[in-house]
Amino acid sequence: MSLITISSSQYKMWRKSSAIGAVAIVILMTGCASEGSSDLPITGSTTEFQGPILQGAVDYQSYESGEELARASRYAIVGKTLSAEGTWLQSKYEGDDPWLNPLAGTGREPSAQELALAATPITANSVEIIESLGSPFEAGDVVEVFTPGGNVDGVRYEFAGVTEFEVGAEYLFFIDGEDGTQLGVIAVSEGAFKKSDAGGYVNEQGHHLTLEEASRYLGNQ
């Protein structure tokens, strides 16, 4: 966790030095905007969140059905969300493959400023595993599942199509992750299926899956 999230005072100081003035500008912009305010990305405060709200977007492979999504996934977990916390996530630059590591062969290492700039706001969702579907985890393990955006340093980052998970609810997550420690959800939020009162699990697109179906389709392209 500490390897990939930025929590150092150095980064926060760097970020705050520019953010304090910027937040003041943001407040002025939202407060003063009249005509033309639709051009501003900052939508201002809402009743749920007191602070600037910034918009974003994510490009990912979308799926037409739960079956299609499950077949494209390597493993899944059923788990209960325990908490959600916004933080900064740092990009990694490792290895000799110039496609995986865009600094390979350039003869340089990322500067502290470059690492700080490349960090992006994410939400770390703590999930207690109830059942593993082909994953390297076991029931009772607690893992962190990352989703783009969230509330970080007094600012809310909203990415179109990315939904927040309900803390305390049970989900079927189709997981993307190389080494079992950096977990994301397949197709951002499409791979998160919330337990339905009617049985099975449903994602935000209304696609429905039972555990039996998920197990059968998983990785079976």
């Binding site: 500008i25 977007a57 492979q61 992006t120």
Partner: protein, 186 residues
């Protein structure tokens, strides 16, 4: 002009709602012609570090892909700057967590950040297809900087902004994308 933009937004929202209610066609999640997340003008410079040779080639193509789109009132100009500014636009390329290929968001300082995920792009492609796929992703993200939203509709390959486009075929702005940019800015 502002009235027309708002009319277009309202009309687009109504049209999408009608499609959803009537069940005509498949409108993906988060479908929108515009994102309200882009920059106020069509002339923008983006700061980015220098990267490995294969990435440099793809990013240069992405930067130039939107240039010249416009009409007699003006054209899109996307350029690279070598001077970083907190209020400016920034593009980074690196290994990241999550299944996404690229993402874009506005920063609290008033600029924007485009991020390209090398891990997912590498995993999704072969060596030969990777440059085109990467170019499609980077060009898509610059589309957000120009206020284009995800999934404006139509067939999968009718827009660079569709999530389910074939990234090996659709790697530059399509007719629909060019029209949407022109309607927004000019």
């Amino acid at each position: 002009m502002i009235f027309l933009r708002r009319f277009r937004s309202v009309f687009s929202a109504l049209a999408i709602s009608v499609l959803l209610i009537s069940g005509v066609g498949v409108v993906p999640a988060a479908a929108a012609t515009y994102c309200s997340c882009g920059m106020p003008t069509a002339t923008n410079s983006i700061y980015r570090p220098s990267y490995s040779a294969p990435w440099e080639a793809g990013l240069i193509s992405a930067f130039s892909a939107w240039n010249g789109i416009g009409n007699s009132k003006g054209t899109v100009k996307i350029s690279r700057t070598y001077n970083y500014s907190t209020q400016g636009n920034y593009m980074s390329v690196g290994t990241n967590v999550g299944s996404w290929y690229g993402r874009y968001y506005r920063t609290v300082e008033g600029g924007s950040h485009i991020q390209i995920n090398t891990r997912t792009i590498t995993n999704a492609t072969t060596t030969s297809s990777r440059p085109t796929f990467a170019r499609s992703t980077a060009t898509h993200e610059i589309g957000h900087l120009l206020n284009l939203g995800d999934n404006p509709g139509g067939t999968a390959n009718s827009s660079l902004m569709n999530h389910n486009r074939n990234r090996l075929i659709i790697y530059s702005p399509q007719s629909k994308d060019r029209t949407n940019v022109i309607n927004h800015y000019f």
